[in-house]
């Protein structure tokens, strides 16, 4: 995989790359250092970085700061500030049973989707490791659910969950419950698991392709040596594939946690968090508070809570990326 960015990133450590570490004594590194000394890049660097910095500062950093400030103030729906209230919004939020329920539901949502997705995708990736007729076709077909944006995916499943004309009902009727009529999305005890399944369905392709790419980069010699020693298929998986895949698995799990945690379209399109907020996650709770009820206090405080959780993920992600890629 010489031409992939993954290897480009990895090789960066040994050239004049991101981490100025190895080959410090080589002639090339010396000439690069001499060259660096003779060029002060500060002025040029600020010119090259300024537009990017401005874009991120104005449209990512500034909104975060503004949200933080809003959460400590009374703000009306037109953005007019009406006085400092300190932690009042947070106290109200944490005594709101709907918020607490949405927070727990977000944990269930994230953990169950990511866990199931990872297991299924790992299985698919291992099967795709083997040569069989139609493998390229399977890979191509995997791209189909991924290419379908979440809005269309969610609309499609909403139609399939139609109590009278939906395909899920037809399947249930066909496999031995001919007269059963189910309001899949009207009952939160059914709607939420169904949406979890849609989340899994939508996450499998991406995860499988990442894990398959990871498996492809495992050294083939390891398998050959183990096979000569008479290792079984299961041993190969447990003792070679799994440990070798650990860094890729870590990245894919973390990314999925972040994507799934942030996911908005599935729940919004299928139930809008309803009935009566019973299928809300923090994200749909936030959206409804802000843009349906215009409760800017609750919405901004929820944003900050979500932000804090994301910050935790971001620190974890930064550390993993730094270890894996920049080394």
């Amino acid at each position: 995989m010489a031409e992939t960015p993954g290897s480009a990133t990895r090789s960066s450590g040994s050239t004049d790359g991101l981490a100025d570490t190895p080959s410090a004594g080589s002639p090339r590194a010396r000439s690069a250092r001499a060259y660096r000394r003779s060029h002060d890049d500060r002025a040029a660097a600020s010119a090259y970085l300024a537009p990017a910095f401005a874009l991120v500062a104005i449209f990512i950093c500034l909104p975060i700061a503004l949200t933080l400030w809003m959460s400590l103030n009374e703000v009306d729906q037109f953005g007019r500030f009406g006085g400092f209230v300190g932690l009042g919004h947070y106290l109200a939020l944490f005594s709101d049973p709907q918020f607490i329920a949405a927070a727990w539901r977000t944990v269930i949502w994230t953990v169950s989707i990511v866990a199931a997705t990872t297991v299924i995708a790992l299985f698919l990736a291992v099967v795709l490791q083997q040569k069989f007729r139609g493998r390229a076709l399977v890979r191509g077909l995997l791209l189909l659910p991924w290419a379908t944006g979440l809005v269309i995916v969610s609309l499609l499943w909403r139609w399939m969950a139609h109590p009278d004309f939906g395909a899920i009902g037809r399947v249930v009727n066909a496999i031995g419950f001919p007269a059963l009529r189910v309001e899949w999305l009207g009952n939160p005890a059914l709607a939420f698991p169904l949406m979890i399944w849609v989340g899994i369905w939508a996450s499998i392709p991406f995860t499988t392709l990442v894990l398959a790419a990871g498996i492809q980069s495992i050294d083939t010699d390891l398998y050959e040596a183990a096979t000569l020693d008479g290792a079984s298929q299961w041993r190969l998986f447990r003792d070679i594939t799994l440990p070798q895949l650990r860094p890729v698995l870590a990245v894919s799990i973390l990314l999925n946690v972040i994507f799934v945690f942030n996911s908005f379209p599935i729940i919004w399109v299928m139930t809008e968090g309803g009935p009566a907020g019973a299928t809300d996650t923090l994200i749909t709770f936030l959206y409804r508070k802000g843009f349906r009820f215009y409760d800017m206090g609750a919405a901004s405080a929820t944003s900050v809570v979500v932000f804090a959780i994301l910050l935790g993920f971001a620190i974890l992600h930064t550390r993993i990326m730094w270890r894996n890629v920049l080394r």
Binding site: T148, W159, M160, A167, V251, V306, A314
Partner: protein, 281 residues
């Protein structure tokens, strides 16, 4: 590519494994068959009892109706403007930034890289309230510019990350030789770095484009004018009507998937490599 088919393995294990594979594939692909079947149902049979798995007479006319009954072409155009604009902006801004981060030495470089990887995690959800108020104050609400700029800002960290990785892999000698020849920084970037980084640029652009193309939340929040809607909120607006015309909705959805799916097929290798390296969906 690993070839492990030479492994000794019993027939039952093989059958079980491929049976499971087939089951998962059916679960993954069945919804698309249902989508096609519904898209081909005539209006009259959509809500007819008992529901049919497939329409007796496929109503191919649905695929024509979506262009006249629904402004699908307009939605396509709006999606194209938003995704294309965001991709162009993110690339134009991200290229020089990645170059500087990979090649220049200046204080704060490491910090900036941390900052870039960190901001990659912030989905627009947490920014939504404040962005809404800011865009309102800037009189950008209900414009494509708002979506272009915000989508570009969201795509920028990955673009920079990808560019930095590629530019770092260019050997220092090439750059030094060019400098001895008297070439300026910008000339070197265009002549020596862009050709090498072309695959990385293509990958980053694909991701920016597809993410903006499939983006829903920002479009839902910032655009109220029906004429400005991209495909995502345009198709979603079917739902607001009294009785949802699922046959047209799903026919439009199928058409909307085609360009992205074809793009994904073409870019398959770069996409997977990009996922492994930078971590975006």
């Amino acid at each position: 590519m690993i070839d492990v088919t030479y492994l000794r393995e019993g027939l039952p294990t093989r059958l079980m494994r491929f049976g499971l594979l087939a089951l998962i594939l059916v679960l993954l692909l069945f919804p698309f068959i249902e989508m096609l079947s519904t898209a081909l149902k005539p209006r009259s049979t959509l809500y007819a009892w008992p529901p049919a798995w497939f329409p007796a007479v496929p109503a191919w006319g649905n695929f024509l109706a979506i262009w006249s009954d629904v402004p699908l072409a307009l939605y396509f155009w709006n999606s194209f403007v938003i995704a294309g604009g965001a991709t162009a902006l993110a690339t134009l801004v991200g290229l020089p930034a990645g170059y500087a981060l990979a090649r220049f030495r200046f204080p704060g470089r490491q910090l900036f890289l941390y900052f870039i990887i960190g901001t990659q995690m912030f989905s627009p959800v947490v920014l939504l309230l404040a962005l809404f108020l800011m865009l309102n104050a800037m009189a950008l609400l209900n414009t494509h510019v708002a979506l272009i700029v915000v989508n570009a800002a969201v795509a920028l960290p990955f673009t920079i990350w990808m560019m930095t990785a590629y530019f770092s892999s260019v050997p220092a000698e090439i750059e030094e030789a060019a400098i001895l020849d008297g070439a300026g920084r910008f000339r070197i970037l265009v002549d020596h770095f862009l050709p090498i980084a072309a695959p990385g640029i293509a990958t980053a652009m694909t991701f920016s484009f597809v993410n903006a193309w499939n983006e829903f939340l920002l479009a839902l929040t910032f655009l109220s004018d029906a004429k400005l809607r991209p495909l995502t909120t345009g198709i979603y607006s079917f739902v607001g009507r009294y009785e949802i015309q699922w046959h047209l909705l799903l026919a439009a959805s199928l058409v909307a998937i085609v360009p992205v799916f074809l793009g994904f097929l073409l870019m398959q290798r770069q996409l997977v490599a990009g996922l492994a390296a930078g971590g975006v969906k």
